[in-house]
Amino acid sequence: MWSTLRYGKFFDVQCGDAELEKKVDEKIDQFIDKVEKHPNKKNQICLSFFEVKNKQQTWFTNKVEHLYWEHWYINLNVAQHPKAHSGKSHHSKLVVDPGESASEERNARRATLESSLHEVLFQIIKFVNEKKDHIPPIPSMEGVSFPYEIIISSSSDSAFGMDMFKRMLQTGHPTMLS
């Protein structure tokens, strides 16, 4: 649910928890760096919520088990924006003030993005509301959210698909949203 924090600046929805926002911003910056380095790769952000289970301490390990109960897979592929006036374009435009058309394009793109984000967020709301039984009891904790982690992977990673698969297998939760 709080993966929409970034979009909150579009829609005026913000978490209010500084630590969480900071963490999310860091992840977003990390994602942006990754995308800038490898522009044409497919990327996936996996937001996972888990329950912390403390296993019994043994001599060797002090394992803290993460029992995942929800994964959100967000596929983000950054499209390359075309240049304003490409000489190769066959559909050459009429004489237009470059700045004007660029800003209008930007506005149009932004409006499209906004509307598509609306759609996505509505989808998220629907899913969140439909399935609540799998959510563990709210732990007595500080903060606004269940324990979570954000993992960014891209198609160039060696085990991109395998990672996803492994994660799915690890949880083995029957009501996991796929």
Binding site: G16, S89, S92, L94, E119, I125
Partner: protein, 623 residues
């Protein structure tokens, strides 16, 4: 029986009561315009949902509920406990958009709004925001319910309050209810900010200027039926109910997906533009006749055809493209517009599809490629105008001439069909009456020289010829006149298209701008202006057509002769530039060899064609 305040039923009752209060708070804090600037600090609308919020000083005990601390919204909250008697009554919150009437005097009102509570009855408890001297809620202003929220607790009939389950399950039930309520309220929190009314709310709050619209709300415990027309416009959204042991908590919503009446002027950076010469989609009506309107000057490569269709319009029109919808608060409306125009968007080679974030779920049904005005839904380089070659011809040729039928299926059949247009060598059949005007039209159209434009120009020249434009060759004028008459006789007939190769088909260069040096060429789409992918695919179709025609068995000796004559003049790769001198030679030779035709000759020829057709049909019947 005394109810233990700490018992499960009591806890649940309390949770439900607070749920109502909280949901009302969430709705109204994002729909009530601020009373004064005191409560509003610019763009800072930070809400800390954590129970240990930093703003604890302003936090009241109620704010701690559901881990959601909200901004103060005094109007409704102070009274919600007052009027709400029972959790079993639904709570209906109507958000109303009020638009001032035209004769409203701006000077008579002040921007400050005062709260007026109207205790009309026990059941109805409307809260109406009213300005000082002018009442928003009074007659003369138009009101429109843009949202209706219904929060209710549906109790199961026959369910006893005391849970008979084990202690463990009963203790969990209130916890579960609380947890699920938190989730539901957070969903509500996000949803109120996604709806179009929120933008109106922000607009009202964003500046101190007096606006012609405002938001008021009404809270009641009875669901007044909406007007049928209002209800028809509204979309429904239902949050998944939170089940309890004795009922379920539901929030349902009816909202107007598009609210653009009064608010669009401030949020529209671009004004809608009227699309001149809108011709519609070729898929809708490929045979629609297009008006003959002089075309503005477009670049040659801007479209495959001079007369632009709406979907290709915006790549050539100056800013802003008229197809671009304005980013109004109506997100779904804009989405609709985008999808409508996006499917017609001609992509450019340098553009990529825009992919938005998509959530991996089995219910992912939304359009992940919501098109933008500059992005195509698919990376295919072919324009949306591309149709199978013959259809393209159908579409394109329609724009400038009388109805033309290109029977693609018939091309493989008998090449001669008098009534139909399968005559490969028949002259172009076209209404020649407005030939001169067609020439003029073609001149203007040809300025946007594209493939189909060129194709059409070839047709035009066919027509123009009879009007006596200079043609190189000796016997051509006579032929042209006879052809004219021949064409007249086939005024309403169909023809096979511009790829029909006449034995003496010579294009008139005079009507083609900038090509006065050429003495003519065959009526085949040899000329291409610049390479382009759509032209190539059209040319491929054309080439296929030509191939079919060539492979057709010769009808008669003289026809086969003309076919042979014409063959070398038709290059296989029809996207090459025509070799004018060679073609001219062929043309003139064919011209010289053919005899002068008169009307009667033409009629005889027609008869011959009909005979051949019969023959072929008989032959095909036998085989």
């Amino acid at each position: 029986m005394a109810v233990n305040p700490h018992s499960e039923p009591a806890k649940m009752e309390q949770i439900i009561t607070e749920f109502f209060a909280k949901s009302l708070h969430i709705i109204l804090e994002s729909r009530c315009p601020y009373v004064s600037s005191r409560n509003y600090s610019g763009d800072q609308i930070m809400h800390s949902p954590s129970s240990s919020a930093s703003s604890s000083s302003s936090m009241r005990p109620r704010d701690k509920w559901f881990n959601l601390t909200l901004r103060d919204c005094p109007a409704a909250l102070e009274n919600i406990d007052f009027w709400r008697q029972s959790n079993l009554e639904p709570m209906v919150v109507d958000v109303v958009l009020v638009q001032r009437s035209h004769n409203w005097d701006y000077g008579s009102t002040s921007p400050r709004l005062a709260l007026e509570r109207n205790l009309s009855s026990k059941e109805r408890f409307p809260f109406v925001w009213k300005s000082d001297s002018d009442e928003f809620g009074c007659d003369g202003n138009s009101e429109k319910i843009i949202e209706r929220w219904v929060v209710q607790y549906e109790s199961k009939k026959g369910c006893k309050e005391v849970c008979s389950g084990s202690k463990r399950s009963s203790s969990n039930s209130s916890h579960a209810l609380y947890k699920k309520s938190i989730l539901l309220l957070r969903s509500l929190y996000v949803t109120v900010r996604l709806l179009p009314a929120y933008k109106i709310f922000r607009e009202i709050n964003s500046s101190g200027q007096i606006r012609t619209f405002s938001l008021i709300h009404r809270v009641s415990s009875s669901v007044e039926p909406l007007l049928r027309r209002d209800e028809a416009e509204m979309q429904q959204f239902m949050f998944a109910p939170v089940d309890t042991s004795c009922g379920k908590l539901c929030i349902s919503l009816s909202y107007l997906p598009s609210i653009s009446d009064a608010t669009s002027e401030s949020s529209t950076p671009m004004s809608p533009q009227f699309i001149p010469d809108y011709v519609g989609s070729p898929l809708a009506d490929p045979l629609k006749r297009l008006p003959s309107v002089p075309m503005p000057q477009y670049s040659p490569s801007s479209s495959p055809f001079g007369r632009r269709h709406s979907w290709s319009y915006d790549t050539s029109i100056a800013s802003p493209p008229s197809a671009l919808p304005s980013p109004s608060p109506t997100y779904s409306e804009s989405r609709t517009s985008y999808s409508k125009f996006g499917s017609h968007r001609p992509p450019t080679s340098s553009r990529y599809p825009l992919e938005t974030a998509q959530v991996h779920t089995k219910d992912t049904g939304y359009d992940e490629y919501l098109p933008s005005p500059n992005f195509s839904p698919s990376p295919s380089p072919s324009p949306p105008m591309y149709l199978p070659g013959s259809n393209m011809l159908k579409v394109l040729l329609r724009s400038d001439s009388a109805p033309v039928y290109i029977p693609t299926s018939r091309l493989g059949d008998a090449p001669v069909s008098s009534s139909k247009t399968g005559l490969p060598f028949s002259p172009p059949l076209r209404a020649t009456r407005p030939s001169l005007s067609l020439v003029e039209r073609s001149s203007s159209i040809l300025q946007s020289a594209t493939t189909a434009g060129k194709l059409l120009s070839l047709r035009e020249e066919d027509i123009a010829r009879p009007s006596g434009v200079k043609i190189s060759g000796n016997s051509s004028p006579h032929k042209s006149s006879s052809r004219l008459s021949f064409e007249d006789s086939f005024d309403d007939s169909e023809f096979s298209g511009p790829f029909v190769v006449d034995d003496d088909d010579m294009m008139d260069p005079g009507s083609r701008p900038g090509s006065s040096d050429r003495s003519g060429n065959l009526g085949t789409p040899h000329e291409r202006i610049g390479p382009s992918t759509p032209r190539k695919s059209q040319d491929a179709a054309v080439g296929a057509l030509v191939q079919m025609l060539k492979k057709a068995p010769p009808l008669r000796q003289d026809l086969s002769r003309s076919q042979n004559v014409c063959k070398p003049s038709r290059p296989e790769s029809s996207c090459n530039q025509i070799q004018d001198p060679a073609v001219v030679e062929v043309g003139s030779s064919s011209m010289a060899s053919s005899r002068v035709k008169t009307t009667s000759d033409a009629l005889e020829e027609l008869k011959a064609y009909m005979d051949v057709k019969q023959l072929l049909l008989r032959q095909s019947g036998k085989s």
